[in-house]
């Protein structure tokens, strides 16, 4: 007796019994319709399935153009529709309720719908992707509103919806006014003070980074989770692991994505992978539709709502996630194959207060051009040394964009990501500390695609720096409270690492211009505002700062054994100028359009991620 289409296919020898058992097992774990498990866990090619239905005299309807009575849809719960892949359409002339379903043979579904609607039901076949798209569009309103406003409702002080508070505006304008007054009255003295303060700040923040790097590099000496521990993991004890993949117009990357997910060493049945597609992103949806091999992810369509940002999509995805742990990856990411197991082992070993683990990010196209080389240098020191250093010193860690692993329950408790913050991950990392939890670092790498195009890089970087500024402003709304929550060390680290980073980039070209103008032209006027001792300190700070920054970059690629990149670190001062350009762009956007998400184009690399060597450390 056929209970669903898969049983029928098994009878027709179109589907093996082993696969059927596996699918039913997964469907049971997740409370999904069997067809959903089959289509989303890599058992079946979507196109083949639709062809099979047509062969069985179930023509596939064009759901988007069907007449639809929303009164029926409104009676349904989005989670149920999403799990069982159906959507009520309308009553037909015979008085039967027409329901579009991915599996028109699903007897269990029919029974439940009859009970629900208390009328005769007629199932028609539709693409599961169309059902998902339409059901989320029509019934996802509540969750998408929650995704946008939940944090603001729960913790308004943590939301970046308001960029500058009144107190901050008073402070900033007061400070600027006071400085201008001093400049008018005591020009020379004020200039010297500002100059000294700036150059000392510059040096200090770089010395702090060197210190962090050295502290972080000590982490090489011990590994929290050994290879043998990972090998010895009993797969039966592994929990369900959710992976969120927020994408927007990433149609070219879908194939890559599937291959990357396949390489993960984690039981297939326990990988709850969600591809988060925006409602208006037909490109990506069609790319999934047209795949000629089985997909191993579930599509979640994020209904339209402003702001159209990645954190909003992720927040939305959370309401459909089933895992105990959750990770975020970008579509082009290539994580170390044992990363998830390593994270589980590490979470099990760490104290309960550790609720997030950040993996290291690096690039598979590092040698593509100068920009990718510089990017690799930067990421190597950032993820391999800086974050480990921050962890060792117990200073708040700004999470990186992807490859961060959460305990799902705590993530929900924290209010998840702030959709108004354009570096929502950095903000979340700090919020974790604010709430008395800890962020750890996992010694596992995810390879990404480095931005290889100048203007694309500037756009991406301007968003990051703007996000750091936003994050800084949000958490400095009440400095006294921040000190109470993260301690003086955390407060100091936060100021130098988050606030200092943006400030240093803004400061850098100014210091450079002064330095060059003084050295080349030696104008008497500049000479007067650079007395010997100021000049001595300025030169020392500027040169020492640059040399140390170059050095820190070199250390990290040395650790990664990217020896060929070491000399490129010398170009770091130029790379910093690019940062400064992006920082000013970010600052401008922070004032004019704070929530605007500068989209980074992916898939520009000519190199394939499969050519990258992924070596778990």
């Amino acid at each position: 007796m056929a209970q669903c289409v898969l049983h029928k296919m098994a009878l027709d020898n179109s589907f093996t019994d082993e696969k059927l058992d596996a699918v039913l097992h997964i469907a049971n774990i997740y409370s999904y319709a069997p067809i959903k498990a089959a289509l989303n866990f890599g058992f079946m090619v979507r196109r083949d399935y639709l062809a099979y239905l047509e062969k069985q005299n179930y023509p596939i309807i064009d759901l988007r153009n069907e007449e639809l009575d929303e009164a029926y849809v409104n009676q349904c719960d989005i989670s149920h529709m999403n799990s069982f892949l159906y959507i009520p359409l309308r009553k037909n002339a015979e008085g039967d309720l027409l329901i579009a379903a991915a599996d028109p043979f699903d007897e269990k579904l029919i029974t439940s719908l009859v009970i629900k609607f208390k009328c005769k039901i007629k199932l028609v076949a539709a693409s599961d992707l169309d059902i998902t798209w339409l059901s989320h569009k029509l019934r996802g309103g509540f969750f998408v509103k929650e995704a946008v406003f939940s944090l603001m409702k729960k913790h308004p002080e943590s939301s970046a919806l308001i960029t500058f508070t009144d107190a901050q505006l008073y402070f900033i304008f007061g400070f600027i006014a006071l400085t201008l007054i001093f400049f008018i009255i005591f020009f020379k003295l004020t200039f010297i003070t500002v100059n000294l303060f700036s150059s000392l700040f510059f040096l200090f923040s770089i010395v702090f980074k060197l210190y962090l790097a050295l502290t972080g590099s000590k982490s090489e000496l011990h590994s929290v989770v050994s290879k043998s521990e990972i090998k010895g993991v009993n797969e039966l004890t592994l929990p369900v692991y959710t992976i969120l993949l927020p994408v927007y117009k990433e149609d070219k990357l879908i194939r890559k994505l599937i291959w990357n997910l396949r390489s993960l060493d984690y039981p297939k049945a326990k990988l709850d992978v969600k591809l988060l597609i925006e409602e208006d992103d037909d490109k990506t949806l069609n790319a999934v539709r047209n795949l000629d091999f089985p997909a191993n992810f579930e599509v979640i369509v994020v209904p339209f709502h402003m702001p159209k940002t990645k954190p909003k999509a992720c927040n939305y995805g959370l309401y459909f996630s089933r895992g105990e742990y959750l990770a975020i990856y970008d579509a082009e990411d290539v994580p170390d194959s044992d990363q998830l197991k390593k994270v589980v082992c590490q979470f099990r070993k760490l104290p309960e207060e550790f609720v997030v683990l950040q993996g290291a990010l690096n690039y598979f196209n590092k040698n593509e051009n100068l920009l990718t080389r510089m990017f690799t240098l930067e990421y190597s020191y950032w993820f391999d040394y800086m974050l480990s250093g921050l962890e060792t010193l117990d200073v708040p860690i700004p999470l990186g964009g992807t490859s961060n692993h959460f305990k799902l329950a705590t993530l929900m408790e924290l209010g998840a990501w702030d959709p108004f913050n354009v570096t929502e991950d950095a903000d979340l990392g700090l919020r974790v500390f604010d709430n008395g939890y800890k962020v750890g670092v996992v010694n596992s790498t995810t390879l990404e695609e480095a931005n290889n195009e100048f203007f694309n890089w500037i756009r991406q970087r301007s968003r990051w720096i703007k996000g750091y500024m936003q994050t800084y402003l949000v958490h400095m709304r009440n400095p006294a409270r921040l000190v109470r929550q993260v301690g003086w060390r955390g407060f100091f680290g936060f100021n130098f690492f988050i606030g200092g980073t943006s400030f240093t980039f803004l400061l850098y070209p100014i210091l450079l211009i002064f330095f060059i103008v003084y050295m080349i032209f030696k104008f008497p006027f500049i000479r007067s505002i650079f007395p010997d001792w100021v000049l001595y300190i300025s030169i020392f700070n500027f040169v020492a700062g640059n040399v140390l920054m170059i050095y820190v970059n070199m250390l990290a690629v040395f650790k990664r054994r990217y020896y060929e990149l070491i000399l490129f670190a010398i170009l770091n001062p130029i790379y910093w100028l690019m940062h400064s350009r992006a920082a000013y762009m970010g600052l401008w956007q922070l004032i004019t359009k704070p929530f605007y998400w500068e989209k980074t184009n992916h898939g520009l690399s000519k190199l394939s991620s499969t050519s990258a060597v992924v070596t778990p450390e």
Partner: protein
């Protein structure tokens, strides 16, 4: 037990050593012994804190060896003259404590072998005692030399960037203790190439030289070898070279000369204190034939039996051996162009090297009783060779030190005040704001260091010095000049010869008011008086 040893025994012994050095330095001070480098640093500190001139950056920013100078600054509250001595005592005790700790952690020698060995050396080796209490920069050199090599050995063990970067930081400190160590840049070459072989996929079973040939004869491996060797080089030497570049640049900006810190008698004691080999041959009627290629290396080994033992125990361990050999290569490089006598620090670094080697050697042989015995005997021999070194040293101040220590009968006799101290006392009595004294601290730094105050003293640091030296009568009443018998007379414009020239030009007339074998103080009068 381990914690007990670390906490109480090591701590107690270190405190005991500290007290021992303090007492010994006090005794030596009573005998009138003062090393000129100690006084040089003390004088710079005095200029820094007591000068009313605003331009103190030239002192603070150009005095070299920088680390020695800066470490002395910490102890300034105990007195300018005593600050460099306290700094070197503190550094030596720190070295002793670190060695005790490292031997406990890394070597397989039992506590009852390494504790007496290290105590024997630090309490009785005249070189280490000299390094601690002379107030020279020797202690700083030894400490950073030890940390540098310790980091390298740890790098071999762990292959982590952390230790390589720490080595680079220590290397920077070492170069700012003694510029000559920058030539380790060349001396480290062989071991860097060998270490670079480690990461290559070649047959590790064969001899290293075959591994090397395998790697250079294969394009891909050769590229990897070069990349890795260059990378290690850069990581190790970027910081010291960058720091030197910066320091040179700052010198150029403020003193008009990139090498000011190396060549100026105002900035670097070695300009005045190094003993030229020519002088030794002419004045002492002796030769320093052992300070020549190869002989020097053998001489050093002869003076350091512990090093010989370290070599013996490291046989077959190529990286470690080449690391231990690097300072020999360094000395071979230095000898090529060095015209001056190598003082004790160039011998002591080899003793420290031996201790690094022994502390890291963890072979089974160290559990054998015969090894314990050999180590201890070699340590004892090292003490005797230390005494031998001081007996035949060609450095005058080292000789004076040794004699001051040896002649214990003079220890408690009435304090012997130096000639410079007596000149300083006279100047202190006469100088005030209306009776200024012109002194050039290039040669007279020992006098300036002993002055009670800098009030009424016209020094090259003062902005008015240029005017005063052209026309002394306009600014000062007294001039302190170096006599022809003064060994430093050529380093200053204020010597007898120049004074005569000024007098002959008819600028002023002089009256000798105070005289010692090396110094004269003249009162000057305008011609019309």
């Amino acid at each position: 037990m381990n914690k007990f040893i670390e906490k109480y025994i090591n701590g107690s012994l270190s405190i005991l050593l500290l007290v021992f050095y303090l007492v010994l330095s006090w005794i030596l001070h009573r005998t009138g012994y003062e090393h000129s480098e100690n006084i040089f640093i003390a004088e710079k500190i005095k200029l820094l804190f007591d000068s009313t001139e605003k331009n103190i950056l030239v002192t603070l920013g150009t005095s070299y060896p920088t680390i020695v100078f800066l470490s002395s600054l910490i102890f300034t509250p105990f007195g300018y003259l005593y600050a460099p001595i306290l700094a070197s005592i503190a550094l030596t005790v720190m070295l002793y404590y670190t060695l005790l700790k490292d031997f406990k952690e890394s070597s397989k020698l039992p506590d009852f072998v390494y504790i007496p060995l290290l105590s024997l050396l630090f309490f009785l080796h005249p070189g280490l005692i000299y390094g601690a209490i002379s107030g020279r920069g020797v202690a700083a050199i030894l400490v950073f030399f030890y940390f540098l090599f310790r980091s390298l050995f740890r790098y071999y063990r762990t292959q982590t960037t952390f230790y390589l970067s720490m080595a680079s930081i220590y290397m920077t400190c070492l170069v700012f203790c003694d510029f000559n160590f920058i030539w380790l840049l060349l001396a480290f070459f062989p071991f860097i190439v060998l270490v670079s072989l480690e990461g290559l996929k070649i047959n590790k079973e064969q001899a290293p030289i075959s591994q090397y040939f395998d790697s250079v004869n294969n394009t891909s491996q050769r590229r990897k070898l070069t990349n890795r060797a260059v990378a290690i080089y850069i990581i190790l030497f970027l910081l010291p070279i960058g720091a030197l570049f910066l320091f040179g640049y700052l010198n150029d900006t403020h003193a008009g000369n990139q090498d000011y810190f190396l060549n100026s008698q105002y900035a670097n004691w070695h300009v005045l204190g190094n003993v030229s080999i020519g002088n030794i041959i002419i004045n002492d009627h002796t030769n320093v034939s052992y300070q020549t290629q190869l002989l020097f290396q053998f001489y050093v080994i002869a003076l350091n039996p512990l090093l010989l033992l370290a070599f013996f125990y490291f046989k077959g361990k190529l990286y470690e051996l080449f690391t231990l050999l690097a300072p020999f290569i360094l000395m071979a490089i230095l000898i090529i162009n060095t015209q001056y006598y190598f003082m004790i620090e160039y011998y002591l670094v080899f003793l420290i090297l031996a201790l690094v080697g022994l502390s890291f050697y963890a072979n089974k042989q160290f559990t054998k009783k015969v090894t314990w015995f050999l180590v201890f005997i070699a340590g004892l021999l090292n003490v005797f060779t230390g005494i031998y070194y001081f007996k035949r040293t060609n450095d005058r101040e080292e000789k004076v030190f040794f004699n001051s220590i040896r002649d214990y009968k003079n220890w408690l006799q009435e304090k012997n005040y130096s000639e410079d101290y007596r000149v300083a006392q006279y100047i202190t009595n006469v100088a005030d704001i209306n009776n200024k004294v012109l002194i050039d601290d290039a040669a007279a730094f020992q006098i300036v260091a002993h002055l009670k105050s800098l009030e009424g003293i016209e020094l090259p640091l003062n902005k008015s010095f240029g005017t005063v030296i052209e026309n002394p009568i306009s600014g000062v009443k007294f001039i302190c000049v170096a006599k022809l018998s003064n060994a430093l007379k050529n380093y200053t414009v204020l010597n007898t010869y120049n004074l005569n020239q000024m007098e002959m030009k008819g600028q002023f007339i002089t009256e000798l008011v105070f005289d010692t074998p090396n110094w004269s103080v003249f009162k000057i009068y305008p011609l019309d008086e």
